[in-house]
Amino acid sequence: MSTPLLQAEDLSRFYGGRIGCRDVSFSLDVGEVLAIVGESGSGKTTLLNLLSGRLAPDAGHVRYAMRDGTTRDLLTLTEAERRHLARTDWGFVHQDAREGLRMNVSAGGNIGERLMGIGDRHYGNIREAARGWLSRVEIDEGRLDDKPTAFSGGMRQRLQIARNLVTAPRLVFMDEPTGGLDVSVQARLLDLIRSLVADLGLAVVLVTHDLAVARLLSHRIMVMKAGEVIETGLTDRVLDDPQAPYTQLLVSSVLAA
């Protein structure tokens, strides 16, 4: 067994007396997709922020296998290292594309920002890379110089994904990537994410409250309630044969289409 890409160990975060999340442990392998599901307020987003270094845990550790082969505790990284990691080896797809994009910068500039951030100084190459990624996420190349404000919700989300993937990250965090999109757009986006994840061998930590999304994308699933993980296992196993009462409730409350 190779070393896991990401390991969480007894992660806890409290907001005063309230629990954000408590004693969460798991490990994620290279190329594995983990879905974190649960209702609103169950600590999904807190956990995602802890994992991605955007929030410091009150207890516990997050370890990450860096590109150079060493495994580092995120808490011991310097801020410069953490930001560099987040800009190169990680991606973060926000639910609201406006948080993840620069709305007053063209699509090409948005995709190229990470390349320029790691020192690419050749305009032609940056533009070609941006053009390539635009077509990979199924946006017409003619929109390269349009700003995201002129894009539809689904296109913004796809642009956000392209912007994150341009540096070939190994791990992508997704926070409700399909939230707020209509059903047909959602389906297309899910299709796209699924093929990109498979093609690029991405590891993904996916936060969603939509069990259908989890079913379609993830290999494993973690069910959270009130800040704690109550059930974990292979996606099909958890969804077809839920053990915890809460999971049973969650699964049975999905409307069959």
């Binding site: 320029m116 790691i118 100084r121």
Partner: protein, 289 residues
């Protein structure tokens, strides 16, 4: 005329010490924006309150002051700041670039090469080069601290994508001493090469934004660009209409309401001294005879 109610050069000595400390720090860390407790000055923000405070703090009794605004010695801003220091410090003033020891400027660097004994003081409206891309001060400070300057190139990228070339012509970002990206104040990019390896000390004061930064003498100043879209200096396809100078920065002057216009040196001292030495431009031929 002097105004005895004021301390020499208007500011009290404690304030000057505070500003001098900021200046020393700025010189020690080239291109870094040092915060300072900017004072109210008897002129509105945007008129050079930062530059005036820097000048007031470094001015000595034997200094000779020159003030230019867009290169000209005779515009309102330049005249009023010159008068301000004549009144409050009683120092000698001049319009001659080479005779001055301290030159306060807005938007230009004199055409005449500056010397080691001179100090150039810039008036700066917005010192943060990353401001229009990243509105959060906390974030821009972090970006400076970690030297994360990719965003600056995003701005240049946008220029090329929209205009086919880098269309930023003023406040063109520079990298100072290989470390800090700096806004050279709204000087035309024509003047950027003059900042590189300049013999004179260059000080920048932003009064409203409360920042001072500096380029020590003979510091490497590089204009940012792309490998396939290198930095280019603005060129003019004609000489100055009055003095015939090639390769100086020209201002466009509208002559009448039928579209007639002339192009003249923006540096008035440079233009006048050339004319005194017998140089004549195309619109100035009769005067020569």
């Amino acid at each position: 005329m002097t105004a005895p109610a004021y301390n020499f050069a208007y500011l009290d000595e404690q304030t000057k010490r505070m500003i001098r400390r900021a200046i020393l720090k700025a010189i020690a860390v080239p291109g870094y924006q040092v915060p300072f407790a900017s004072r109210e000055m008897p002129m509105p923000y945007g008129w050079g309150t930062g530059g005036v405070q820097v000048t007031a703090s470094i001015l000595g009794q034997k200094d000779v002051l020159k003030v230019i605004d867009q290169g000209a010695d005779d515009t309102t801003n330049a005249v009023s700041i010159r008068q301000f220091f004549e009144k409050t410090a009683g120092v000698e003033t001049t319009t001659e670039t080479l005779a001055a020891t301290v030159i306060q400027t807005r938007h230009r660097i004199p055409e005449t090469t500056l010397q080691g004994h001179q100090v150039l003081v810039y008036q700066v409206p917005i010192p943060e080069p990353l401001r229009f891309l990243e509105p959060r001060e906390t974030e821009t400070r972090k970006m400076h601290a970690l030297a994360e300057y990719g965003l600056m190139h995003v701005k240049l990228y946008e220029d090329i994508a929209r205009h086919g070339h880098i269309a930023t012509t003023y406040a063109y970002p520079v990298l100072v001493a290989g470390r800090y990206v700096m806004d050279p104040s709204p000087t035309p990019k024509f003047d950027n090469p003059k900042m590189d390896d300049c013999a004179a000390l260059q000080l920048f004061g932003a009064g409203r934004e409360k920042r001072i930064y500096a380029i020590p003498p003979h510091t490497k100043v590089v204009s940012l660009d792309f490998e396939d879209h290198p930095f280019e200096v603005t060129r003019f396809d004609r000489p100055c209409a009055l003095c015939g100078a090639q390769g100086s920065y020209l201002d466009e002057v509208v002559m009448d309401d039928r579209g007639a216009r002339m192009f003249v040196c923006s540096d008035t001292d440079f233009c006048e001294s050339r004319q005194e030495n017998g140089h004549r431009g195309p619109l100035n031929q009769e005067a020569a005879e």
